[in-house]
Symmetry: none
Subunit: 218 residues, 4 copies
């Protein structure tokens, strides 16, 4: 069950697209452009992605792009909308984590889902985390992650953590760790076996943040 539900992949489109009613062909082109955007943003980053690259990747012409999006930012936003939403529901899914084995499993499963989400949306998320985006767009990203931070802060606060741990700070640290780690694996293509990754991260996070007993020592 490591797939987050993302039934209706963004069919939004930018301002130009919304001002017309799209027919079958139009919707197809729109989808191709969104997909192409994902691909190109991932490989080149936001600034380096050329509208031309995206159009070429989508197999349409340069001008067509502007039939659907007012500019690059809008395409990005369309992609980002999805992510924000998914990120929020993922945050919502994160229930209390107790310090026992059950908490460990809950956490591990959740990390699995987070990894799945990340790997699909890496292009967008990694643009957020770089300073490589117009400030405008970065605000989106901040919102997406801040929900997560809030929930995490609550979970940490609930747990029997050491007294010198500040929940908000801890939550930020938690997000830092998983965001960046997934970035290394997904974007920088550092190879780690999925199981190893989940075992290790879950154990560390459970122990470090949620009072988990480190269990059988080696």
């Amino acid at each position: 069950m490591s797939e987050t539900s993302r039934a209706n992949s963004s069919t939004a489109g930018g301002t130009p697209a919304r001002e017309r009613k799209l027919r079958a062909q139009g919707r197809r082109t729109l989808r191709k452009l969104l997909e192409a955007g994902r691909t190109v943003f991932e490989s080149k980053g936001f600034r380096e992605a050329r509208v031309d690259d995206i159009a070429a990747e989508a197999g349409t012409s340069h001008g067509t792009f502007y039939l659907y999006f007012a500019n690059k930012d809008e395409l990005f936003e369309a992609l980002a909308a999805d992510v924000v939403e998914e990120m929020q529901s993922l945050a919502a899914e994160l229930g209390p984590i107790d310090s026992g084995e059950e908490g460990y499993r809950t956490l591990r499963d959740w990390l699995d889902r987070f990894a799945a989400l990340y790997s699909h949306h890496a292009p967008v998320i990694s643009v957020w985390q770089s300073s490589d985006a117009p400030t405008q767009l970065m605000r989106l990203g901040r919102h997406a992650l801040s929900d997560l931070v809030d929930v995490l802060a609550k979970r940490v606060a609930e747990s029997p953590a050491p007294h010198d741990i500040d929940p908000d700070t801890a939550a930020m640290a938690f997000v830092s760790l998983i965001e960046r780690f997934n970035y290394l694996v997904t974007v920088r293509r550092l190879h780690v076996r999925r199981d190893t990754m989940l075992d290790t991260l879950a154990r560390i996070l459970h122990t470090g943040f949620f009072g988990g007993d480190a269990g059988g020592r080696s």
Copy 2:
């Protein structure tokens, strides 16, 4: 003692600078350009930084820049050289971390030094971690951090960590956490009190990675 010794800030300069003999004034200008680079890279990121911005910040003219560096990359490299070196010596400083209170203190001190290094070199480090740099430059960054990862993997392996933790993976997670956290604080200007930050991170990392006892629960 939260300041790393960085007496001799890079006075290297790029190819053009090395091909001339600099007099007092020249050396001064070189230093101003390096400093300006740091400033501008920090506020705008590598790609968005204009050579013009840097020159203006340094209070020199456009063309003067090219008297000292062949291009933006070279300026960046000059800055990076410093960081690589400091990062390596910081890695070397990280001795064994035991699971007791002494290990905790060692770790906390080291994190303090890391934060100091980061805050001074944020512009450079944050460029490395974004995909926002020519691949050429990123290799530098990879080297700098991989030393750190290696040392950490060794320290984790030594410690009485849970059996399902893979030291290499853990090391990556450790670096992810501290790099990104400091990024948020330094570049994104998220406000956290220094003490809170050190207490929280040290406690979490000690507990999560080095078998530290979480100490007095709340």
Copy 3:
């Protein structure tokens, strides 16, 4: 009959042009740029020709140029391709020159055709002969002329020339004379009546290189 057939003037275009499919308008612009190149190269020489000048002369904007050619060199090459070809077929046309009146007429006709070719392609040829072009481009020119030198060497060797004449050297001398003379006339605008020019050159060359009898002395 002093016009060489050059029906299909180069419609090639540079790399960017070849990567798009040109419509009627595009082809027109391409042609205008090529023609503008010819004009500007002729009046300013290769190095002094500004891409802006060429664009202006073609009545298009700056950026449009780069829709058709990657840079000045490519435009030049497109022009040069034509010349090389024409030069080679002109070389092939040069049959044996006997020492009698018929040889004289053959030679005079050929010089006429050479002059026609030269006047149309002066901008390109004169760039070749100056050291004023990237070495890359000069190689093209060397090939074009060396064919001519080869044929001429053969013709001179066939003719009853004095024993102390080296055919290869003579061929070079021949090409030197006609190339430079036409340069002076075409590019430097030295005024000489066409007939006078052809009469004089044909007579001199026939006598000097092909054993022609100087005919009725004055």
Copy 4:
């Protein structure tokens, strides 16, 4: 005796130099700059020659150049002055060429001297012949060569040349041939034995322009 007398190599210098009285060291630097100019102009042509290149070649600093010459043009002019002078005296040396063996020898000797002059001054002359120079400077060149053309026209007119040869046109052709041929040999480094070259050119020119009997046919 194939060396033209060029006892007093230009010691003129540009405006700045003339406004000061040069002492020993100054004169030495001036000479080094002139020599460096020759070298650099030869290898790169006028436009491509950088003041920096010249200064470096002369072993002085950038700024020093401007102590002696107001700009690149002036350096070139200083070099050219010599050539004009030598060219004129070489023109003056060219006496009548009869159609016999004596005329042949006279011509051959003169060509030898021309070749010597050319090889020493190739940088300057080849700049003249390219369109690669400010029009200002080219006028100089035109003067230098036009003297030669005038003398040659006279010599051709005197000789028993065919009636359809126009002396002025012939003179231009003559100059074209020898200028360009020497260019190929000197600048483009086409290898031809000196004797072969002189024999061939002298014979061709004697026969073609001065009614010389082609002598022993092969």
